[in-house]
């Protein structure tokens, strides 16, 4: 094998252009203090909304108000989707709040299947609030616990900055297909929250890279704009159209924007000198 590597290397020596280059102009860790602090405030506000709105949502379920519970499902979830990069740091809670049926061996029938999607399954697929009380209580307790833990957390800068891309990876890998909210088909609400959560991070660090990498900033902003423009076509008075209204053409536009944002934002940590 050594022989092969040696010979191969010599064969391609002519074409080999090894040009290590710095990721970007120096960004000192201190430069990130402001953006991270601001992000923590942003997350805090959204978590408070999550706790309040989850209370209203789960109260509706426990009161047996099916219509109200259905209506509150998608907007309540958005508060979780927007803070997901931080929420995911607690995998136990992320699992119990946001796992999907396929994450469990017995799918919908699995006792471990709890959280938003378990309630979504009951409300939209079984069209009933029956038997959901225990799941409602559990979700409420989980989001309160999440709020507590995140408030006490020192935000790791690389997780925050990496979160911009992580949100896009989520959309690209499992959401663009419409499998996330498979019972309610309110996926576009999730999209909106994921994009807003990602854009928030990007906007916070944008001043640190704008001067040296204007083309990158313009390209990423352009793709966020494309997403906003595409999603706005599906805006309704209450929120968003159901996923099945999304045309094949618009799905393709969104997929390309998500893939491109995921590629570009994957360099954000490096551009900011983070590992």
């Amino acid at each position: 094998m050594k022989l092969r590597a040696y010979l191969a290397a010599s064969v391609f020596a002519v074409t080999a252009v090894i040009a290590p280059r710095a990721a970007n102009a120096e960004v000192s860790p201190l430069d990130l203090v402001g953006p991270i602090a601001e992000y923590k405030i942003f997350i805090g506000e959204n978590l408070e909304k999550l706790v309040t709105e989850t209370k209203a949502f789960t109260d509706a379920i426990k009161a047996g108000d099916l219509e109200k519970a259905k209506k509150l499902y998608a907007p309540t979830r958005m508060n979780y989707e927007i803070v997901e990069p931080v929420a995911e740091l607690f995998s136990d809670l992320d699992g119990s709040i946001d796992s999907r049926a396929d994450d469990h061996e017995k799918a919908e029938k699995d006792p471990g299947f709890t959280g938003f999607h378990r309630l979504e399954y009951g409300l939209f697929s079984q069209n009933s609030t029956e038997g959901l009380n225990e799941f409602a209580d559990k979700l409420q307790a989980d989001v309160v616990e999440l709020h507590k833990r995140i408030t006490e957390l020192t935000f790791p800068p690389e997780k925050v900055v990496g979160g911009a891309a992580a949100l896009m990876e989520e959309v690209a890998a499992t959401k663009i297909s419409g499998e996330e909210d498979r019972y309610s088909h309110t996926d576009l609400w999730d999209f909106k929250a994921n994009f807003d959560g990602s854009r928030k991070i990007f906007d916070l660090v944008r001043p640190l890279i704008e001067k040296d990498d204007a083309a990158f900033v313009t390209k990423v902003s352009g793709n966020f704009d494309t997403v906003d423009k595409t999603l706005s076509k599906y805006k309704t008075a209450e929120g968003y159209e159901l996923y099945d209204k999304l045309t094949d053409d618009d799905r393709t536009v969104l997929a390309a924007a998500v893939n491109t944002l995921a590629e570009d934002l994957s360099t954000l940590r490096g551009k900011l000198g983070l590992n």
Binding site: R21, A256, G270
Partner: protein
């Protein structure tokens, strides 16, 4: 040393190295040792990479035609179909230029640039730090929708390019059909194809979205002592492509494969060709339970040799005029329907370049496998569409079910470093390439 002599030196030493190993293996066998013991004695480890002396095989990227059409089919192939988001002439140019640059690099091989390790690496690395060509070809073709959805390209659509219509035996899964652009990727190993596909996806996320892909393989054969070649077998166990036209004959390829850009075909399309892709599921369990004689009558060839009935070699031409009733070769045998060897049938010749595919298990617990059929022709209507129409209703249909695919127009070749894929089309549409590097 030039790259070429270097390459030769490499291949020579690799070959002798392999011969050495081969001789040792032979000696071990002669001494009555088992294969496992022999491996142990050679100091090989379980996870050692399998060795190949073909990694430096290279096909030309530059030329009148794209590679991967008359290029002898290697062991691994793939079709990937994309939606294209480039709508303006400038974006389409960027798409074509980027494809050309990436394909030129991947087919030649080399060392990807090293980036700061805080950034994602430029290359996916699955072939190691140095990308070897491994006989890679990447062939770019455009679907009818590519032209239909762009007003400025519509007048320049190749005359025979259409959206694939379902034939009588088809059960098309829409998620496995059509596409704005197809990439045929073939090389010696599936890993080289996957490396190339991932490179394209990474470099063009804003202009191309993957819709479907199908990988396939071709069973390899030992070298025959007399140097003769045989057609590879498909998953029905029959030799496939025995009647393929001779791809080394320029005159034949000019007539059968290459669009001449005359008559109603646009001039820009000269040296392109039509690509027909079909994902044809084979019901192999049922086929394997079918008597050999019936299998042979359905295909029209003898299974062991591939020869026509009464013949000894697969290249022999069946004498249908002597067999008008079909007593030797049934009138509805696959090969007789596809090509009845009359002068008229000469107009319907196609160049086949298929791969076998195997995807998993169906809901019914049967193998999901079959043929990734690919063929090229200068006239799609007289070629694949006419041939498949003749095959409609054939007895073989009991055992096969086409489920996907599409029709595409394969772009002319990239003649030199200043050229790029699709340049003649863009120029025909009145777009002067802008960001020319020259």
């Amino acid at each position: 040393m030039t790259e070429e002599t270097n390459t030769k030196a490499f291949i020579t030493s690799r070959r002798s190295l392999l011969l050495g190993v081969g001789a040792a293996g032979g000696a071990a066998l002669a001494a009555g040792m088992s294969g496992a013991q022999a491996a142990e004695n050679n100091g090989e480890q379980v996870t050692d990479a399998p060795l190949s002396d073909k990694m430096l095989e290279q096909q030309p990227f530059h030329g009148q035609y794209q590679s991967g059409i008359v290029t002898p089919r290697p062991a691994a192939g793939m079709i990937a179909s994309f939606r294209v988001l480039a709508n303006t002439p400038a974006d389409v140019e960027r798409l074509f230029r980027t494809l050309s640059e990436r394909i030129a690099f991947l087919m030649k091989g080399g060392t990807p640039p090293a980036l700061d390790d805080k950034l994602p690496p430029a290359d996916n690395g699955i072939l190691g730090p140095i990308v070897l060509p491994d006989n890679l070809t990447m062939t770019v073709s455009l679907g009818a929708s590519f032209f239909d959805q762009r007003d400025w390209l519509l007048p320049h659509k190749p005359a025979r390019l259409s959206r694939m219509k379902a034939f009588t035996n088809d059960a098309l899964d829409q998620s496995l059909c059509y596409g704005d652009l197809s990439l045929q990727i073939s090389s010696n190993t599936p890993d080289t194809n996957i490396h190339a596909l991932r490179d394209i996806l990474k470099n063009l996320p804003d202009l191309m979205v993957l819709r479907w892909k199908q990988e396939g393989s071709v069973p390899v054969l030992p070298r025959s002592p007399d140097g003769t070649h045989q057609s590879a077998r498909n998953f029905l166990g029959f030799r496939d492509g025995s009647a393929n036209p001779d791809a080394s004959s320029t005159a034949l390829m000019d007539r059968i494969v290459w669009v001449q850009g005359i008559g109603d075909e646009p001039v820009w399309a000269r040296n392109g060709t039509y690509q027909a892709v079909r994902i044809i599921r084979n019901f192999v369990e049922r086929w394997d339970r079918t008597p050999l004689g019936e299998q042979e009558r359905i295909i029209g060839r003898l299974k062991p040799t591939g020869a026509p009935f009464g013949g000894h070699h697969e290249t022999q031409v069946p004498d249908y005029p002597k067999d008008p009733e079909g007593t030797v070769t049934p009138l509805d045998a696959h090969i007789r329907l596809a090509n009845n060897r009359t002068e008229a049938a000469e107009a319907n010749l196609i160049l086949r370049r298929p791969f076998n595919y195997s995807n998993g298990v169906s809901k019914s617990g049967q193998l999901e496998q079959g043929l990734l059929f690919i063929c090229y022709q200068a006239d799609l209507e007289k070629g694949f569409i006419a041939v498949q129409t003749k095959l409609n209703g054939e007895p073989l249909e009991e055992y096969i079910k086409p489920i996907g695919g599409g029709f595409f127009f394969t772009l002319p070749g990239v003649v030199d470093a200043n050229d790029f894929l699709g340049r003649t089309l863009l120029e025909a549409a009145g777009h002067t390439p802008t960001n020319s590097k020259s």
